[in-house]
Amino acid sequence: MDTRLPNPDRELVDAVLRGAPGAFERLVRDYQGLCWHIIYRMVRHPEDARELCQETFLRVHQCLYQYRYESALKSWIGQVAYSIALRHLQRKRIPLLEPASDEGANSPVENVGDDFDLEQAFGDAQMARRLHAAVDALPPVQRTVLTLYHLEEASIPEIAAITGMASGTIKSHLFRARLRLREMLEGRLGVAV
């Protein structure tokens, strides 16, 4: 198969590598949203997240010659951002996942009832704020997987490429995080909504 077919990633990467004026600025503009969403969701601290975003793009600029087009440029840059945020959390000894968050638990579906009324919930700004707070309370990896899937509209294989986790693990994180948020929303875990 001809891997030299023209594609936007290759054109942009070639332009950056030969130092074309404005090329790196365009690369940053194209992917700063992705990096921000990954890093900010991981670390939650705006100042730290800005610094880590800068570090990400400096690393991208430094290592771009190593990019081999084996995955989309989006996944490659997302992987750099994810690993930098991960290292930051590890340095600060912040747990990435709750202990035994995925293993050995009974199905939480049983905890959820069918009598919850959301008639007023959709128009309630306070409800949205509480949901955002509930998302923030999730472990960093689950927050990030949810953000990539829902906000960045990344596919499960793309998220797997970014995070280095297996697709099955991504699906389990998505399932459990959304179920947990539903439980919080419906007030069955002691979180008033």
């Binding site: 130092g19 404005g22 790196f24 600025e25 365009r26 940053v28 503009r29 700063q32 949203g33 921000w36 969403h37 900010y40 969701r41 705006p46 997240a49 800005r50 975003c53 800068q54 793009f57 400096l58 600029h61 995925d102 293993e103 199905s107 579906v109 959820v112 069918d114 009598d115 919850f116 009324d117 959301l118 919930a121 959709f122 409800m127 949205a128 949901l131 955002h132 998302v135 949810l146 953000t147 829902h150 906000l151 509209e153 499960i156 297996a166 697709s167 099955g168 693990t169 699906k171 389990s172 998505l174 399932f175 459990r176 959304r178 179920l179 948020l181 539903r182 929303l185 419906e186």
Partner: protein, 144 residues
């Protein structure tokens, strides 16, 4: 044929289907489901999760990053060029101060020549030039 990757742990498939259906409906802008609390909960979740965070990167983030990674050779070229222009201006000023008495009077022909022969005019030009150059240097320091 099912190409979906399997879950790493056992899950309730109907619950997963409800989560995915709510996400698809939210993206398609479908009407809010009536009479199904689970579907409505997941729909609200899908709506909230698609919202970007309040905090954002500064609007000029990309431009600043591009400046930070400017190749050192080009930055050094710019600095060298600026210093050479400054050096040339200083050399001109020193020459005018040392040899000006000899050749300035020779310009004193006609109205323009008379003006050019005035030492204060050259001093004024030198001051303006130095002011312009120092502004350029200061700007460079701020950008870096």
């Amino acid at each position: 044929m099912n190409h979906e990757p399997p879950f790493s742990t056992p899950v309730d498939e109907s619950e997963w289907a409800a989560q995915e259906r709510a996400l698809a409906d939210e993206r398609a802008g479908a009407a809010s489901p009536a009479g199904d609390p689970r579907a409505r909960s997941y729909r609200l979740l899908a709506h909230v999760l698609a919202q970007p965070p309040d905090a954002q990167l500064p609007p000029d983030f990309a431009r600043r990053m591009a400046q930070r990674v400017q190749p050192p050779a080009r930055a050094a070229d710019n600095r060298l060029e600026t210093w050479l222009v400054g050096l040339l201006a200083m050399a001109g000023l020193v020459s005018a101060a040392i040899y000006g008495n000899a050749w300035l009077p020779s310009l004193d022909q006609g109205a323009t020549g008379a003006l050019l022969a005035k030492p204060w005019l050259w001093a004024l030009v030198a001051c303006l030039g130095f002011s312009r150059l120092s502004r350029h240097w200061l700007h460079h320091d701020q950008v870096r």
